[in-house]
């Protein structure tokens, strides 16, 4: 599958929502925990190898849904790869320095999903509409977009 790698590289270099050196392992057999610079930029998770002169970049699945992210142990969380139902062990594991750091990452990843943003938008729109009787999306010209409708009950 082709993709615009150059733009992904550029994205990886942008200011991150969250970045830290965390021990992590990749979903490969025999993979061990290694310290990596992990960076969350919009809804992409990147990791960089820090022990080599040449920085290698390997973004994790660019999209994840909440069920793929789970907090395993107090200081660790994992991200399961979608599309591998027959291989549940295919996941990225992260071991944080503290439980607090782990929780911060889990929360940051939860908010980093596009679906979370979409649900938030629909929620705020609905609340504003109820309070003021006006659709706040009209000013943006996007009130009719299918992706922002509240399902079948929308008039």
């Amino acid at each position: 599958m082709r993709y615009n790698e150059r733009e992904l590289l550029s994205l990886a270099r942008q200011p991150a929502e969250k970045a830290a050196e965390i021990r992590m392992s990749v979903p490969k057999k025999g993979s061990v925990l290694k310290k990596r610079l992990v960076k969350l930029v919009v809804n992409f998770l990147f990791y960089f190898r820090t022990d080599e002169a040449e920085v290698g970049i390997g973004p994790l699945a660019g999209v994840w849904e909440q069920q793929q992210l789970c907090q395993d142990l107090p200081g660790a969380f994992s991200l399961s790869l979608a599309g591998f139902i027959e291989e549940p062990e295919r996941k990225y594991c992260f071991e944080c320095a503290t439980e607090e750091q782990c929780q911060e990452w889990v929360e940051a990843l939860r908010r980093a999903s596009y679906e979370f943003l979409r649900r938030s938008l629909i929620f705020y729109r609905n609340e504003i509409q109820k309070m003021t009787g006006k659709d706040p999306l009209e000013q943006y010209g996007i009130s009719e977009e299918a992706r922002f409708q509240l399902g079948a009950h929308r008039q």
Partner: protein
């Protein structure tokens, strides 16, 4: 750079609803050829990811365009209904796409220019602020004495700072109770708007379906499907002031946004 291709491809083809789909002709970039050629591909937009398939029935995407840090503009190609996705990086290639007609082109340009995570985040932050401001204004209004409305009218406001109303408490269909004489409750409860004889505000316009789009918005998980629209009835002097004030602000913002749209910015 490695990408989890299998997982990303899985996302492309899974059940989650697409935001926009359709056939587009994609310009083929060949360095050693003269002239340009186009290939018809099936495009699927999900969130900020634009996938393209060789055929509509293909089980795996051929390619992916990540839509962050890009602009979408009409382009002066030999082809009619052409538009381009361009990235900020000067050396980056542009994706030139050709739609079937004017309406399809406009729909795609709109959808793509608003697809980025950045844009969504911007809108959500803006709405967050608006909700805050609306709550504050309403709270300020509530401090002055109101005319009493008809009893039996059910209403919901989600602001915890509001003063308690004199109305009878009501239980709502989805089990949430809002008003009680002891105070008011914040939260996601809603109520159907029962008309006690006064005129209701006009209903919201019906959802327009774009011809080119086969996207269907799915109900947002986590929100109760029983939620109905219940516009606040404008029976108070205070509220109509809020309405006017809001309307002015929106008129200004709308003009600004329309100008930005013309300049081709998301």
């Amino acid at each position: 750079m490695k990408l989890n291709e299998r997982s990303v491809a899985h996302y492309a083809t899974c059940d989650s609803p697409a935001d926009h789909t359709g056939f587009l002709r994609k310009r083929v970039e060949r360095h050693h050829h003269h002239g340009t050629s186009y290939q018809r591909r099936w495009f699927v937009l999900k969130g900020n990811l634009l996938f393209y398939f060789e055929e509509r029935e293909s089980r795996e995407p051929m390619g992916l365009v990540v839509l962050e840090g890009c602009t979408v503009e009409l382009c002066e190609a030999a082809e009619e209904f052409a538009f381009a996705i361009r990235f900020d990086d000067a050396g980056a290639r542009a994706y030139v796409l050709v739609a079937d007609g004017q309406a399809a082109m406009e729909a795609w340009v709109k959808a793509l220019s608003r697809a980025s995570f950045d844009y969504m985040r911007l809108v959500v932050r803006e709405l967050e602020k608006q909700l805050e401001e609306a709550c504050k204004s309403l709270a300020a209004c509530r401090k002055s004495p109101r005319r009493s409305s008809s009893s039996g009218r059910k209403r919901h406001l989600s602001n915890p700072a509001l003063q308690p109303l004199q109305e009878k408490p009501t239980t709502l269909e989805n089990g949430y109770s809002t008003w009680s004489s002891g105070g008011c409750v914040a939260g996601g409860a809603t109520s159907p708007d029962h008309d006690g004889g006064q005129t209701k505000p006009p209903p919201l316009p019906p959802r327009r379906r774009s011809a080119a789009s086969s996207a269907i918005g799915s109900p947002a998980p986590g929100l109760s499907p029983a939620m109905l629209e219940s516009p606040v009835p404008p029976e108070t002097v205070c509220f109509s002031k809020l309405h006017n004030w809001y309307g002015q602000e929106i008129a200004v913002l709308r003009r600004e946004w329309q100008e930005r749209q013309k300049r081709g910015h998301p």
